[in-house]
Structure formats: structure tokens, C-alpha cells
Symmetry: C2
Subunit: 414 residues, 2 copies
Amino acid sequence: MAGVVVQKYGGSSLADADAVRRVARRIAARRNSGDDVVAVVSAMGDQTDELTALALEVNDRPDRRELDVLLSTGELVSCTLTAMALNALGQPAKSLAGWQAGIHTTSRYGRAQISSIDVSPIRRELDSGNIVVIAGFQGIADDQDVTTLGRGGSDTTAVAIAAALGAERCEIYTNVDGIYTADPKFVPAAHKLDEIGFEEMLEMASYGAKMQPRAVELAMVYNVPTYVASSFTETPGTLIHEGADNMDENIDGDRVGEVRKKVRGIATDKGFVKITMLGVPDRPGLAARVFEPLSAADVSVDEIVMNAGSDAVTDFTFTVTGADLERALEVVQPMTEEMGGRGVVSTGGLAKVSIVGTGMRDEPGYASRMFGALAEHGINIELITTSEIRITCIVSERHVGDAARALHAVFELG
Amino acid sequence: MAGVVVQKYGGSSLADADAVRRVARRIAARRNSGDDVVAVVSAMGDQTDELTALALEVNDRPDRRELDVLLSTGELVSCTLTAMALNALGQPAKSLAGWQAGIHTTSRYGRAQISSIDVSPIRRELDSGNIVVIAGFQGIADDQDVTTLGRGGSDTTAVAIAAALGAERCEIYTNVDGIYTADPKFVPAAHKLDEIGFEEMLEMASYGAKMQPRAVELAMVYNVPTYVASSFTETPGTLIHEGADNMDENIDGDRVGEVRKKVRGIATDKGFVKITMLGVPDRPGLAARVFEPLSAADVSVDEIVMNAGSDAVTDFTFTVTGADLERALEVVQPMTEEMGGRGVVSTGGLAKVSIVGTGMRDEPGYASRMFGALAEHGINIELITTSEIRITCIVSERHVGDAARALHAVFELG
């Protein structure tokens, strides 16, 4: 039996009809090499943004159910065109919308999660000799409503299908040729990684690298080797796989050089706002009281910092993306007043700079080297958050490039 | 219980976001008057043509299954935007794709017919107090494939839903303010009809008036009064209903004046090609032998003329639309050769001019007056076809305006 490969092509790889034909040639070449191919496609170019803008023209707060159906059309267009382009190359191919491909999701419009995949429609088409082209980013909820998976959701579609099919691997084709030690836009010395572990990639993706964190998480849970490469070149990309996470245990042979650099990469992400509720009563249940209404208002709270002082009042700080600022303030301003707090302050234009690496686990000293490097460059730290294998500093967006370059140098990633 | 009204809005009424908002205001006004409203919408402006052009960029003979999914996205965009625009007016509204609205069709892609409608999803939303906005022109076949109903298919969606719901009436809103005695582009003296019968409208629509004949047929079979009017003005439109067909029996009162003019209208339609297979053997089964492979090649044969002569050979003539010419010739050229015929000739740039009216039934003399009027204007007739209540002459497209004006005058429709 031939293996199955799942390939995903992003919107920048499908900008126009010529690009669709180019992608079809790549898919056909993969099919001709012997494997069954399932291709997952995103909407062409900026179509998702254009459809969103159109929705905002008729309603400045569009219903999320309607918005999801609207946005899902972008991928329907690209998957049918890709199937047609494959036909033109003599390849039998069939498109499937999310609901046709058996992709069941939760019903949280705009940010739905895949709950299960019934692979029988995909299997049926593969067994008939078709290349299957699936509309990414979308699925169907229990009530037959179309849902979307949020930004970058097509990555998740691809990994989930690869897991459900037991595919050999998932290939994510995009406009960059892999995962870099840092964003080359900020750090000219950044270089591409040949491989990276799931855990490290999950932190990188969650803190700014361009892959949906949920996709990495799924790949990790189902152990799907995932290859990220350019759809424009034949340059080798980056393989995300289990083995690469444990390289710090593998201190013999070729990898020694890499192991010594225990930071694997620098992640950067922009567009955050810090919101502080000043002088609110420091009582048990404060966090729940704040975050339940924020969640109900569909505000995605990012990082949370609370310093319980010795006083009866405290300052309560959290971050959100710029897009959620207005909705967040609508919730916390009246709440702070009601609680007898001193007011709400928000600071926009913030960015995160993170160092990530499994080698940092149980190794002290990374934090102080990081803070030292930032201090040396006169970069003020607004907030700090950490995980076992990551340290993140929130700084002004103005400083994000300087910070990334400084950290890339100090941790010898060049 | 409030009545239900089905309204349909065409693409020219939904050209951009402003137009969508305007349509939403009209739907909301209808809802506020007390009736439940189901709105069926076409794709915005020229979107169907643009999507078709995009398909042809990647494949000059796109697979029809894929093309149907692609084209169906146009109506998904317009129905979600219309629902959002209704929400912005404070009206609860929900969009349904064809497959969500229970619109089951045959699986003849691109020209599918509605086979049944399960109205329970629509009823459920109406019962919840929603205005239901349905993507026209599309449905779902037994194999879960999305299908489209062909040009003007949204008219059919609207009438079929009105019939299935037992709606009071179906309202077709478009860019013209009703059904005219002739196309005003050709005949300045043409005037709008206040009413017209189903049979007459079916002939008018089949021979060029802008409404899908299948929609008229459904309205006739299920006796759904159908009102055609402008979405841009409040000018009264034309009511298509059963009573109006029998006006020639109703010779008392106000209608006498109209009854005397037994031709109700002039229909015109362009873009035809006449194909003649010369000198083919005149044997039983000839027609079947010609039309089966044409049908298999998805060529829609329009009119057929065969004069069985006294010879053993005959000329076999039929018409198709310009779009089908190439596919038709690919079938009949080798076939004519194989049959030992003398060759195939085709004449393009043809148009149909028809006179329609139930008053013509069993009344001789209309044909000769029609042919006489055309002869008087030096217009050559290529083919003639008739029904009980219609006479059609196929003429050169160059003459279609002259012919329509001449007939409008001679049958005193001005």
C-alpha cells in the first residue's frame, strides 16, 4: 500500500491563477512519486482579509456565525481551483469542503477547535485514485453550522487530517523556507534550523513563529512529523519531530555543537496591549471575577500578572491583542469602578521577545543573561513570563528588533 | 398565523455593500409589515462571471462538479452579508446555504433541477423569529455534492421554496420593473404589463424574457402567484398568476380592451447558431443517432428542423447557443462524415423573435400577419417554430430590433 502525505499550501502560495497552477504542479509531482496526496489549501492571497472588510462594510460587529460562512468561501474558491488545475495536468482530483471532508468542530465560531475527523470521505476519494484537495480553516459543528478555526487554521486542518489518516508526514508549504533561529526581518544573522522538537516549536509558535500553535500541539500529541518549507523553491525546510526535542540528552556525535547552544531560537510577536486595573481589592476570587466576563465578551486574555501585596488592594495586569482592546476596556472599566479601584491604564504598542529551548530546562542562568542583554541595550522590560523551556519579556514594539538581535548574539545562535 | 412571503433579489440589486444594505432595508420593511420573510439572494453583481473567468484561467474545461462548488460561493457571500446587514438593522436573521436549507437536486452539475425541498430547517428558523436568507442557485445532490441550477437559478430557488412553504406569494426583485410587451431596449413603445398568465409567461421566459423558464413552470404547476418588480423603486411591477391566462374568456368589463389585442407580448433572444448536416441518409432513428451523443457531450439542443424529402437523403438542422457550438461541431462533423453526408454548415449570429398570447390559441391568421410584417421590413426568416400560444421566427441578430418594433406595431401592443 502506498503511503499518504498531507500537504498544506498557504494563501501567499496561492495568490493568483498562475500560483494555483504552480502549486498544482508541485502536488502532481508528489503524487507521481508514488504516494497518495491530500492537499489542504488556504484562501488565495488576502482574500480572508478582503471578505472580513466586506463584512465590516455592512455591519461593524458582524454575527460570528455569518462571518464564519463568509470566510469559509475563501478556501472553497482555492480548493476547487486547485482541483481544476490538477485536472488540467491530467491528475484526477476532487475538492472537499470542510463539512464534506468530515471535519467536525466545536461551535465556537471564529475560533472553533477540531473535535473529530471522519476520514471515510477522504479515504473513499483516495481509494478512487483521486488527489483530495481540502478547504482548510473550516469545519462543521453539531448543528450543521459552518465554523472556522481562526488565523492559521489551515495548518491545524492539515496536521489533524495527517493524524487521522495515519499519514507518513505533514508538509506545510509557505512563503518562508522553514523555521529560523529568529525572524530574519529583525535578525540578519538568523539561520534556518534543519530540525526542531515539538515542544520547542510549540513555544516558538505560541510566541510568534508563523504556525498555528494548535497545529503544533496536535502534531506533538499524535506524533506527526511535520515539515515546514517554501512552496516557491526546492530549498530544504525544517522538520519538526519528536527526536529533535531530546537533543540535549544526545551529547555524543555530530550534535554536540548544537547542544552547547541551549537556546534553540528567538521568537518575536507584536501588537499587544497591557491593561492594568489600579488599586482593586485583593480578595480571593478576584481573577475569576475579572476573567469570566472577559471570556464571555470573547476577549482572549494573553498573559496575566498579579502581585498580591501586603495592602488590601493590588494592581491587576494582563495583556490582550490590539484587536481585543476595545472589548476588554468595555468590561474592565465599569468593573474597576464598581470594585472601588483607582482606574484603568492601558499601554499599547507592545511586543514579546522570547528565548526558547529544551536545553534551558533545569538550567539556571538563562534569565539573568537575557535581562542583562536587554538592559545593556537600554530596553525596558514591561512584563516577564516563563515556562520550563521559554522566557518571555514584553517590551515596546520599537525595541523588538534590537532585542532579538541582542539575544541572538548573546546566546550564540549566529 | 402570519403569512410567509418569499422574496428574491438578483445580482444587480446586490452590486456592493451599499446595495446589500438597501436590500436589507427592503426585507426588514416587509418583515415589519407582519409577514414572515424568506429572502433568496443571487451572487453580488458580476461575481458569477468573475468566478467562471477565474476557473477558465486554471483549466479551459473545468470539471463541472468543481465549477459548481466554486460558483456556489458567490451566493454564500451575498446571503451572509445580507443576514449581517439585517442584523445591523436590529432584525434577527440567519443565512442558509443550499445544502443547509434542504434544497435537494439532481446531480447534473451546472444545470441541476430541484428534486425536493425539506423545509424543516427553514421552518425552524422562521419559528425562532428569524428572517431566513437563502443562497439561491444551488442545492445538494444525493452524494453530498453541491450543485448549481444554471443561469437565473435563484428565481427557481425562490419559487420552489415558496411552493414548498405554501407561501402567499413569491416576489422577484430585479433591475427591471416588471414584464414588458417587448424588450424596451428594442421597442421604445413597449409598456409594462400589470399581469400576465403563467402559460404566456412561460413562453415569454423560454423565448427571451429575463426569468428562468423553470421558475415559471414551477410557479404554474404549484400555482404560486409571482410578482416581478424593481428592487430600486416602488413602482408597481407585474403579477404572474393563473387568472391572467384566461382573459380571452373574460370578455366583459374592463379587460375588453386588452382582450382584443390577442398577442400579449414580443419575446426576443440572441446568441444562437444554426447547424445543418447536409445530405445525410434519411433513415428511421436518425434523430436519436444525432441527439444522443450531443446530449452526452452536454450540448443543449434548442430547436430542431428536419424535412424528410422524397430522396434517400435529407438536410438535418438544429440550433444551439454560441457557447455550445464548438462542442456540437466536435460531435456532428465526424458523425456526418461517417454517415456519408456532404458536410456541416453553421450560421452564427442568429436571434429569435416570438409573438406570445393565449388569445392566439385556435385563432388562425397570426402566422401570416407575422411573416408579412417581417417581409415588409426585408427581414429574412431562417427557421420557424411554433407552440399553441407562440410563433417564433429565427432571424439575423442584426434584424432583431427592427423585427420586434414591426411586430409590436402590427399587433397593436403600443
